[in-house]
Amino acid sequence: MRGQDPVIRVEELSKRFGDKVAVDRVAFDIDRSEVFGFLGPNGAGKTTTIKMLTTLLQPTSGRATILGHDLRTEGRKIRERIGVVQQQDSFDQGLNVETSLDIYGLIWDIPRPERKRRIGELIERLGMEEFRRKPTIDLSSGQRRRLQVAREFIHDMDLLFLDEPTVGLDPIVRRTLLDFFKERVRDGLTIFFTTHILEEAEYLCDRIAVINEGRIIDIDTPENLKRRFGSAKAVEFKLLQGSSAELAALLSSSESVTRLVQEPGTGTYRVTTARPESVIPEIYRHAERLGVTVSSIYISETTLEDAFINLVTENHGAGVVSGGRAA
């Protein structure tokens, strides 16, 4: 049973665009200081859900309360207490970074001394010192993304919506941002977080809702999702020769192999299988026949990505909705 006074309570919320159902009767609760992940393939309904919860779009049916306020009738009160980092870029093109932060604080009616203090703190914390006076129009996508995040922390809020906030960021900046979010969650902030990067969801989220074709197909902790849907193991191996298309083709056609991918960059092959004990000899057998050498091989733990793919694949087109408020 979740808390009695959730930050977000969504009941049977739907959104239609003409004949297309973008979001179909989704339901969930989110508690204070919780990071709630919203995962799904492209076009699953993640951004539409965020747009409804941030009052930008009117739901077609269903109801929701955000911070105790009704989504349909108290939009202004909701918007006073939330922050949103959009998936798309957003910036004031005529300003530099520091002025942009200052004017954003101004429109939120933050007093000038407080704005100055917060801007200094955010610029230092998010590593924006070197481009603080750069015009926003000249920023790289990663710098612009950091500006978008910093901007939302200029004003006070209880709930932050993050719509794929780390797209285009290098791993160091990405980790800086995620750690920053974690700090703020410890201070009481609640986060609604969509991402395609499943390691991020695993790192940050307390619970994850998986959405597909507009419907929530499961809600659980990352650990439980992995346990429940990640029964398959992953066998990872490398070839001395780098890659072999013939070997990949042979393994892909094997009955024991659920999925085979080669990671770009490292050249590591990752085989998802329920029977690693039969796949490993098969890899060696094919390799010997093709004259390629396996330089390393090991069985790895199930990742959230494995669980996510299994879950979405299992429920593709089935419209299965499991317990919307599963803990």
């Binding site: 779009l57 202004r76 918007r79 870029d89 957003s90 004031d92 093109q93 005529g94």
Partner: protein, 254 residues
Amino acid sequence: MNIYLRLVYRNLRANLDRASLFFELIFPLFFIFVQGFGLNGIVPPFDIGNGKFVSYSLFLAAGAVTLTVINGGTNAGTQLWFDRKNGMFEQILMGPFTRAQYILSIIFATLIIGVAGSLLVFVFAFPVVGASFAFSLEGVLLIAAALFFGTVFFGAFAITLSVALKSSETFQVVSTFAFFIFLFTSSVFFPASSAPSAIQAASLANPLTYTTDIFRAGLFSAATPTTSLELGVLAVEAAAMFVIAVLAFRRIRV
């Protein structure tokens, strides 16, 4: 600070294209100093109403001041375009503001640009043209009303265009063409009564005609009984255009 002041300040700081503004001011001055002086020698002074005779250069200077009203209006559309293109439109609407506050803040920013631009052109141009004025309260009120309603009309018109058109390039082309039509079917360059009948008919629907006529009436103390009627028509046109802009604005898909 008041919510409108905050948003207007933000619009002026974030979305003003200084290069465009410069040319928007140069454009009317060019008409005043080149066309005005050029034609002054061959066009005799004429009656603009209430028995007031003015030279062509003065007539045109007053018209060119109201030209900045159109330029200010274009700026309203540009502000909205910048915000939509740069993702700030949605970002602001997800903040503690309403759509009405946002659109009004654009109109207010446009008013500031339009009125400030008109004053600047006035200050630069009229001493050179050689005019001297004794302003009456009625004259000042007419000038203020002309600039206010004119800017609201053209600001709302530009907002409607920027909502209706799919790209900023199309907006630029269509707005330039539309404003060209407004300009040459108005009384900015010549009295509407001296134009061919088709242009005269078009000028009767053209808010720039009324903006310019009312401005001149206030400036040269040349108000006639028809000036009140013109003011009424301009106010109705501005209000109607504003309502159309609000309706169009509400239809923007996010």
